[in-house]
């Protein structure tokens, strides 16, 4: 039987506008959870060298590095896209063609920033 089905979310074409909007929220939640890492880092720093070394040991494996790089990208993306939102609040960049250009700039810019930060941290 070929009964008609209700439209599924997957059939809609991905659009930069909606993807960035949801990514802003996802990175916001990631940053919220990440405050646990930042606060723990500061606490370990204040407690002494032993704790600080232990913290660094915990984040130096593959999973730890992946989380920290993802966290760095979330900071860069949320900040750049936040600037885009601020522009809209003041009436700049609301034209759909400009929205797409700034959207792609935020994606590419955040990836470049993350790459530069991690290359500098390794050097």
């Amino acid at each position: 039987m070929n009964n008609p089905l209700s439209p599924h979310l997957q059939i809609y074409r991905w659009q930069i506008t909606s993807v960035l909007s949801i990514l802003h929220r996802i990175t916001g939640v990631v940053l919220s959870l990440g405050t646990i890492i930042l606060a723990t880092w500061l606490l370990c720093l204040s407690l002494g060298e032993f704790y600080f070394d232990f913290f660094n040991y915990l984040i130096s494996n593959f999973i730890g590095r992946t989380i920290m790089i993802g966290y760095t990208w979330s900071v860069c993306f949320h900040t750049l896209n936040g600037i885009r939102h601020l522009g809209w609040d003041y009436g700049y960049g609301l034209d759909l063609s400009i929205v797409k250009v700034t959207g792609w700039s935020v994606i590419i810019g955040s990836l470049i920033m993350t790459t530069i930060i991690w290359i500098l941290s390794v050097l």
Partner: protein, 111 residues
């Protein structure tokens, strides 16, 4: 601009403006610290003005976070009970992070 929704919106706008230089500064600072020894990091971070800046960043960041999470809860949670519990959880989380950061700042200050 007297109702709470517009006040919330205004605070989110002003806090994000304040967070742009703060986030940029701490990104660069953490990057600098990452290449230092423990003693060097302590001497770099124990200046009073720096610890005050850490607290300012923490307070503004946590308030920005709290409002953002509220916005998400308002959009996706429809049960009043779950909504209330989520708001309590967020407040406890904010208090916990602020407590840990304050304790750390005091410990670094008296080092």
């Amino acid at each position: 601009m007297s109702n709470s929704a517009s006040k919330t919106w205004l605070f989110q706008k002003y806090s994000s403006i304040a967070l742009i230089p703060l986030v940029s500064y701490f990104l660069v600072k953490i990057l600098q610290l990452s290449s230092m020894t423990y003693e060097q990091i302590i001497s770099e971070t124990s200046a009073l003005w720096f610890l005050v800046l850490v607290l300012i960043f923490t307070v503004i960041g946590l308030l920005h976070m709290r409002l953002g999470l509220h916005e998400i809860i308002e959009d996706y949670v429809h049960s009043d009970m779950v909504k209330k519990l989520s708001f309590i959880t967020i407040n406890l989380f904010v208090a916990g992070i602020l407590g840990v950061v304050s304790l750390s700042v005091i410990l670094i200050c008296i080092k």
